[in-house]
């Protein structure tokens, strides 16, 4: 029953959608019924092209996200433990966090080209911020008692970092990853919608040109499913690695 609970709201939304679509209040082109979306979803899911386009988007998202996780994680860790580095970088990150990086995309295109690199670079930049800010917060909040205990036991700085700071920061790192992963998907789809010849975002803008709303919504369902699956995978990974502090989720 616990597993089914989240589906109640989904079922309610789907029912409301279907009732609205069938009401005749709006054009079915704008508000397609579920069977039309389902048909497009089936075509997408059973076609080789659907798999290729999904892979293209995922590969771009993972490339940018992976790089941001690595760089942002390390940078956040250093910022959290070094007041000097934090003093240098924190104003930069805090001051530019709210800037919509998407506005830089045309510049990225001219620097990195029309292909995947410009999209990966933007995903990297967008994901870097939550990674750095949340990880640095975690590294800064390592309980003093743990650090003092390690010192008293004669642990070196490296051992303290490896055995105390890193494990204590890991829940924050995973929190940052959970924030950054959907951002990666969103940015990839948007950049592909703006300028691409492949990927899920491209399929959306391609379908939009001929008002294929049912196809667009089918792709939206695919993106939602990907987002859910990736988040769930990340939570599972977290629970394996950060076994001492299980995350309380509805599907845990």
């Amino acid at each position: 029953m616990k597993v089914l609970r989240p589906l109640i709201l989904v079922a309610f939304i789907l029912a409301a959608w279907q009732i609205t679509a069938k009401s005749g209040l709006w054009s079915p082109i704008l508000f397609p019924p579920l069977e039309r979306i389902g048909r497009e979803l089936f075509i997408f899911a059973t076609s080789w092209d659907g798999a290729v386009q999904t892979w293209v988007s995922l590969y771009r998202a993972f490339a940018g996200f992976g790089a941001a996780a690595l760089v942002g994680g390390l940078l956040g860790l250093v910022m959290g433990r070094s007041p000097v580095v934090a003093g240098m970088l924190d104003p930069l990150f805090s001051g530019t966090y709210a800037v919509p990086k998407l506005a830089l995309f045309p510049i990225f295109i001219f620097i990195f080209g029309l292909g995947s690199l410009s999209k990966v670079a933007l995903v990297f930049l967008e994901c870097l911020y939550p990674m750095v800010i949340i990880t640095s917060q975690g590294a800064r909040n390592v309980p003093k008692a743990l650090l003092w205990s390690a010192e008293n036991m004669g642990a070196s700085r490296w051992t303290t970092l490896r055995r105390v700071v890193l494990p204590a920061t890991m829940p924050y790192v995973f929190a940052a990853l959970r924030v950054a992963l959907p951002v990666a998907l969103i940015v990839v789809v948007i950049t592909e919608m703006i300028s691409s010849v492949d990927g899920l975002g491209y399929l959306i803008s391609y379908s939009l040109a001929s008002l294929k709303t049912d196809r667009i919504l089918a792709i939206v369902v695919v993106i939602s499913a990907l987002g859910l699956a990736l988040d769930r995978g990340l939570v599972m990974l977290r629970d394996r690695l950060v076994y001492w502090e299980k995350l309380d989720t509805y599907y845990a």
């Binding site: 054009s27 295109i109 029309l114 803008s205 391609y206 040109a209 001929s210 008002l211």
Partner: protein, 322 residues
């Protein structure tokens, strides 16, 4: 008794006033090549029926799909759109009809036709040389996409396989060609004139040359429900529209200056007034044959349509002045 008479009198007067109230036309416009449409709002003195039989509310849209979505949501009664976009939405069963032409891609030195340019000192001398390269267009399944694909097919190249077709904004096109991000780019006025003034680019082909015949670029459409409910209003609107088109053709420079002054055009006025213009029919008649050919091309050559679209059924010119 007196109260009843007064009530009937009041109701009758109110009904009369309502009956004489001009009908509002919510009109979705674009941002290029629609001069005579814009002029209807800038120079209402040229439109005797405006304010009497109809009032015009022009709403700017950046792209065509959004314009049609607004129509489907009941927020628009009419608008402008490329003939190709109307073919797409008719294929989806959207109930609208093309009632007049705005402008065409036509042969002739006196007309402007959307131009695809390459680097002047680059290796691309003909469309065939685009093999392995990329052509910049302004959006997928747009007219610019169709022309690029038509030119590639004509040159024996397979779009997407031999040559990529990439979506870019008009403002970025010049720099994209110069920096080799794309090997050919699409240029319309005023970007064409601005890039020509900068130098370093040359023409490879035009939209007219790509498809091989004069064809509709932009048209005026109305929702079928509106056409049925207000035929006289549409006739009055189109009567004014034709009058404005004729004024525009006869006094192009003055009309352009007025449009610039009203903020419809951002290009420096001296460049704008000198730009070559697309062909505009003085009677705003639609080249139906070209829509027929485009529709067939979109289905048979490009695979953009699942089923053919009846161009004759899509156009209704009976509302235009005879």
């Amino acid at each position: 008794m007196i109260r009843t008479i007064l009530f009937i009198l009041g109701t009758s007067l109110a009904s009369l006033a309502l009956a004489q109230e001009p009908t509002l036309i919510r009109f979705g416009r674009g941002f290029a090549a629609e001069e005579q449409v814009w002029l209807m709002s800038v120079r209402p003195d040229l439109t005797p029926n405006q304010g009497k039989k109809y009032t015009l509310k022009q709403i700017l849209f950046q792209a065509n799909p959004e314009r049609f979505q607004a129509f489907l949501a009941g927020e628009l009664d009419a608008g402008t759109a490329p003939g190709l976009s109307v073919i797409f939405v008719r294929a989806q069963g959207v109930d609208l009809k093309v009632v007049a032409s705005v402008c065409q891609e036509a042969a002739g030195k006196q007309w402007f036709s959307t131009t695809y340019m390459v680097k002047a000192d680059g290796p691309i001398k003909s469309v065939k040389d685009l093999k392995g390269g990329t052509v910049g267009v302004v959006g997928y399944k747009t007219a610019t996409d169709l022309w690029a694909r038509a030119a590639l097919l004509k040159a024996g190249l397979v779009p997407d396989r031999d040559t990529k077709v990439f979506s870019l904004g008009f403002p970025a096109m010049g720099e994209a060609v110069r920096t080799d991000k794309v090997q050919a780019g699409t240029f319309v006025e005023p970007f064409y004139s601005a890039e020509m003034a900068k130098g370093g680019l040359r023409k490879l082909f035009t939209a007219r040359e790509a498809v091989g015949y004069d064809h509709e670029l932009l048209d005026v459409w109305f929702g079928e429900k509106f056409l049925k409910a207000h035929p006289d209003v549409v006739r009055a609107f189109l009567s004014d529209y034709v009058a404005v088109t004729r004024y525009y053709l006869a006094h192009t420079e003055q009309a352009k200056r007025d449009l610039h002054k009203a903020g419809f055009v951002r290009t420096p006025v001296e460049i704008y007034v000198k730009n070559a213009d697309w062909k505009r029919d003085p009677n705003d008649r639609v080249n139906v044959e070209s829509l027929r050919k485009l529709s067939t091309f979109m289905k048979d050559q490009l695979g953009w349509l699942d089923k053919p679209v009846n161009a004759d059924d899509m156009v209704d010119q009976s509302y235009l002045p005879r």
